[in-house]
Structures are given as structure tokens and as C-alpha cells.
């Protein structure tokens, strides 16, 4: 799979995702995100860590507006949406942002009434208006790339969890996204199936995809990510290159959290 967006040099990279002062309140007083700022450059791989309930998934889901942020701004590839404004213009910008971002869910969420191939062409056909024959060659290329071209006619119920997640990744990539969001992609998998999914994510990173991942997969965080961010209580605790964060965390809470997950 050719990726035309392969980044050239660290400096010339443009900002792919920019989040400013993001707040999310569930109901009246469950303040999950408390003023999050985040910039992700094109081609950067950022991993978000943090205890459960810290707001990692909510942040990810705010970026493609599966959750509506309560306040703040989100910019993806130059498109800025202000939270709290529910105009028609904002609505269409949200749809644009969703087309630019691919998302992988913990529970895969493949469409069970469609085969693997139908799942992958669904986005291009329904959202981009391509004909099936236009969409199929690239979809097959993607299935090949995730190693599942022989499973193209299987329904999701006949695939293992790891295979389902790989089809889900292919489904997202079929939209040619600029950034991929991974929301605990391996948490629902049996241990022996985690590797095949992480492997695909790793190859995606190598090809220069911008990745924002919430994962507890330490190998990915340590060896693939360019930056690790630790969140707790809806705020950043600490961030930096993985070697720094894992070997020499500065904040007490990061130390506690890392000690907990690394053992």
C-alpha cells in the first residue's frame, strides 16, 4: 500500500490534529475532560496512557465528534469546529472531519450483515459515492495488506477477534483518512491475537500514517510511538518521548501509573 502522505522531515510536518482547551461534561457535573490541549503533527504516532476513567477514550471520541465536546475547539487538517455551536455549517464540517479520520473501536463494530469485503467498501460506496467496481480494487488491496484477502467473503461472525479488528482497520483505511484513531484496539482480544493487530498498526505507522492511539500495548507505546501522553482526571499529567516517559517519569502520578501497568 503506497502512502502518499509519507512525511518528509520532522520540521516541515504540518499540524494534523490540534485541540485547544477541550472540555467535556457528561450530564450536569461529570467533568471528564478538563481543558485538554493537544497538537499532533502529520506522521506522528502518539499513544495516550492513563488509568481507566481518566478520559482517554472520551478525548479520542471527541476528535471525530462521536461525543460532542462541551467547550473548546478541534482542528483536523485545517478544519476547525467550535464546540457548542450547532449550526448547519458546523454539522457539515463534522462530517468532513469524520471522513478525514479513521477510527478503530475496542469492540471492532464491524457490520455483521456484510462480508469482510462489503464492510471495507461500505465507506467509499455510501459516503464517497463510488461505484462498487471502483471501490473493490483498493478494498482488496487493503484486505491483502492486512493479510485477509482470502477471508473477503466471510461474514464477521466467522472471523476471529484479531481478524475482525484487521478488517475494521481496512474498513477505516478505505476512506483514505489523514489520521487514524485507535480506541483500545486490542483490549477485547485474546492474548495470542493481540500481536497480529499490533503488527498492522506498526506497519501503518511505518508508512507514515498519523496515529493517535489509546492502548495498553506497551510494545507499541515504547517502540513505535514518537510520543507518549499520560492522562489522569481529564488532564495531561506528563508527556514526552517514550524512552523518557518509561525510564524517567517526572510526576509522581505517572510513576505510580507506570509502575502499576509495567508489572
Amino acid at each position: 500500500m503506497e502512502n502518499p502522505k509519507k512525511a518528509t522531515s520532522q520540521e516541515s510536518r504540518k499540524t494534523m490534529v490540534s485541540i485547544k482547551n477541550l472540555h467535556k461534561v457528561f450530564g450536569q457535573n461529570l467533568h471528564v475532560l478538563q481543558g485538554i490541549d493537544l497538537e499532533v503533527k502529520a506522521g506522528e504516532v502518539a499513544v495516550i496512557l492513563g488509568p481507566s476513567g481518566s478520559g482517554k477514550s472520551t478525548l479520542l471520541r471527541c476528535i471525530n465528534f462521536l461525543e460532542t465536546p462541551t467547550a473548546g475547539t478541534i482542528t483536523v487538517d485545517g478544519l476547525t469546529v467550535n464546540a457548542g455551536k450547532a449550526t448547519k455549517e458546523e454539522e457539515s464540517k463534522i462530517l468532513q472531519i469524520r471522513k478525514k479520520t479513521g477510527m478503530c473501536f475496542q469492540s471492532f463494530n464491524l457490520f455483521p450483515h456484510m462480508t469482510a469485503l462489503e464492510n471495507v467498501i461500505e465507506g467509499p460506496v455510501t459516503v464517497l459515492g463510488q461505484s462498487k467496481s471502483e471501490a473493490i480494487p483498493y478494498a482488496m488491496e487493503l484486505l491483502e495488506w492486512v493479510g485477509l484477502s482470502d477471508k473477503k467473503d466471510e461474514h464477521p461472525s466467522r472471523l476471529s477477534g484479531g481478524q475482525q479488528q484487521r478488517v475494521a482497520i481496512a474498513r477505516s483505511l478505505a476512506m483514505k483518512p489523514d489520521v487514524m484513531l485507535f480506541d483500545e484496539p486490542t483490549s477485547a482480544l485474546d492474548p495470542e491475537l493481540v500481536g497480529e493487530v499490533v503488527d498492522v498498526m506498526e506497519r501503518l505507522a511505518e508508512e507514515g500514517m498519523t496515529i493517535l492511539a489509546v492502548t495498553h500495548e506497551m510494545h507499541f507505546a515504547r517502540d513505535v510511538a514518537h510520543r507518549v501522553l499520560i492522562m489522569d482526571g481529564g488532564k495531561w499529567i506528563e508527556q514526552g518521548p517514550p524512552e523518557e516517559i518509561f525510564t524517567n517519569p517526572k510526576e509522581t502520578r505517572s510513576k505510580q501509573f507506570l509502575a502499576h501497568i509495567l508489572n
Binding site: 471525530n64 462530517l95 469524520r98 469492540s107 455483521p112 450483515h113 461500505e122 459516503v127 461472525s157 477505516s172
Partner: protein, 287 residues
């Protein structure tokens, strides 16, 4: 799955094979006994018919006449169920809508129609609507009375369709709500609009859940279509009752018409099973 079990057959120890054989035998015996029970039941029924001196000749003589009424029954049922399907989808979308007007309209529709007897509704469409038309015409809308004076069959189709539409609205709503939120989120994450997500992702899956209860409604409607006989339509049951009364042989006629309804419903049930098997195609782990 099948292949692996065949491959392993040789490694299954003889004592386990004996148990497997017992299980298989038990299943065969069960099926055989079921069949015997059905045959005995049928023979008993026929015996009873002969015992009470049922006039089979009379039944066969009038069979053709009664069956001609089936056309009306099927016409009314099919058109009414089509109307009900359309209304139920619109109603369900209304019930799930965040638009207060659409939501309250749909809720009122379901509540009102489910809360009143079908019999009253049939008469409402047939007898009360012309009066409403007259009142509106007197308010200054010309021609509305004749428009609202419906012949028996259209009135029956509307009454049945609107009534069953209300019940089915709740079925369709429940079906749509049974699809996990993750499906809608996956569709949205791809950039689909709400309409596209509903059409491509949610509804096709909901359909699988709602086919059995909808078939149920259809079977009930086939039988409720006999209510149009109240308006003098010569459908199945009306004919049977008329002839039965005329010759004082109601028993024969009623048994016959009951059997005809039954056969129709058994056929429908078969169609339902075929549709369900087709809809479940994404669900089979082993074929």
C-alpha cells in the same frame, strides 16, 4: 467445523461413540413419535367429523364458492400489511425522533390506535368518516364529503393498515433500538449521515429482529381481515357464514373456512421461515 469433526471421528473412543449413537437414536425416536402423534391427531379429527355426521358432499359443493372469497381476503390483507409496513417505519422514526412535533404525533398515533378496538375503527372509517366529510363541507370545503365516503374495501384496508401500523410501529422501534450503539458509531465514524447510517447499517440489521413479530402481525391480519365482512364484503368468512345459515349447516361451513385460514397461515409461516433463514446468513458460524 464439519471437516474437523469428520477428521477426528477415528480418535473418538468406542464408549463415546456409543453415547453419540444413543443421542442420535433418541433424536430419531423423537421425530418418529412426533410424526405418529400428528397422524393420530388427524385421524381422530377425521373420525370425529364422521361421527358427528359432517356433510362432506355439502362442503365440497360450496368449496369453490367460498374460495372465491379468498381473493378479497388476500387483497385486503396484502394491501393493508403494505400500508402497515410503511406506516410502522414512519411511526418508528417518529417515535425515535428528537423533533418534538414528529415524536408527539407518532406517540399519539400509537396510543390512540392501540387503545381503541379495531371494530370501532372499522366503523369509524366506513360510517363516521362521511359524516365528518359532511361537517367539513358545510364549513366551506366543496367535494370533501364524497372524498371521505369510502367504499367498503378501501375503508377496510385503511382501517386494518392504520391499526396494524400502530402495533408494528412499536415492533419496528424496538428492532431499531436493539441494534447496539457501536454500529451507529462505526457508521458515523466512516462519515455517514444519520439517514445513511439508518438505511445502510441500522435498518437492515433491525429487519432481522422484526421479521418474526411482523409475520405474526401478518398472520393475525389475515384473520382480522374477516372484519371487512361487517361492511358487506363477500370475503371468506362472510361467505361461509351466509351459506351455513342459509342451509342450517354452519358447522360444515365454519370448519371448512377455519381450515382454509389455517392452510393460508401455514403457508405464510413457511415463507417467514425462509426469509428468516436468508436474513440470518451473516450469523451462521457453521453451515
Amino acid at each position: 467445523m464439519d471437516n474437523s469433526s469428520k477428521m477426528n471421528k477415528s480418535s473418538i473412543p468406542p464408549e463415546a461413540q456409543a453415547i453419540l449413537k444413543q443421542v442420535a437414536d433418541r433424536e430419531t425416536r423423537f421425530r418418529k413419535n412426533m410424526l405418529i402423534s400428528f397422524i393420530v391427531l388427524t385421524l381422530l379429527a377425521i373420525g370425529l367429523f364422521i361421527l358427528i355426521k359432517l356433510d362432506f358432499k355439502f362442503m365440497i359443493k360450496w368449496l369453490g364458492f367460498i374460495l372465491t372469497g379468498m381473493g378479497f381476503t388476500l387483497l385486503v390483507s396484502f394491501l393493508a400489511i403494505s400500508l402497515a409496513c410503511i406506516l410502522s417505519v414512519i411511526g418508528a422514526l417518529g417515535r425515535l425522533s428528537s423533533n418534538p412535533v414528529a415524536n408527539s404525533l407518532a406517540t399519539a398515533y400509537v396510543s390512540l390506535i392501540r387503545g381503541t378496538p379495531l371494530l370501532v375503527q372499522v366503523y369509524m372509517w366506513y360510517l363516521a368518516l362521511p359524516q365528518l366529510g359532511k361537517a367539513i363541507e358545510e364549513l366551506g370545503v366543496p367535494g370533501i364529503q364524497s372524498l371521505l365516503t369510502l367504499p367498503a374495501i378501501p375503508a377496510g384496508i385503511l382501517a386494518l393498515g392504520v391499526c396494524y401500523g400502530a402495533y408494528m410501529t412499536e415492533t419496528v422501534r424496538a428492532g431499531i433500538q436493539s441494534i447496539t450503539i457501536g454500529q451507529r458509531e462505526a457508521a458515523k465514524a466512516l462519515g455517514m449521515t444519520d439517514g445513511q447510517a439508518m438505511r445502510r447499517i441500522i435498518f437492515p440489521q433491525a429487519l432481522r429482529v422484526i421479521i418474526p413479530p411482523i409475520s405474526n402481525e401478518f398472520i393475525a391480519m389475515i384473520k382480522d381481515s374477516s372484519l371487512v365482512s361487517l361492511m358487506g364484503v363477500w370475503e371468506l368468512s362472510y361467505r361461509a357464514i351466509k351459506i351455513g345459515r342459509r342451509y342450517f349447516q354452519s358447522l360444515e361451513m365454519l370448519i371448512m373456512v377455519a381450515l382454509i385460514y389455517w392452510v393460508m397461515c401455514v403457508l405464510l409461516q413457511y415463507v417467514q421461515e425462509r426469509i428468516e433463514t436468508y436474513m440470518a446468513r451473516g450469523d451462521r458460524r457453521m453451515s
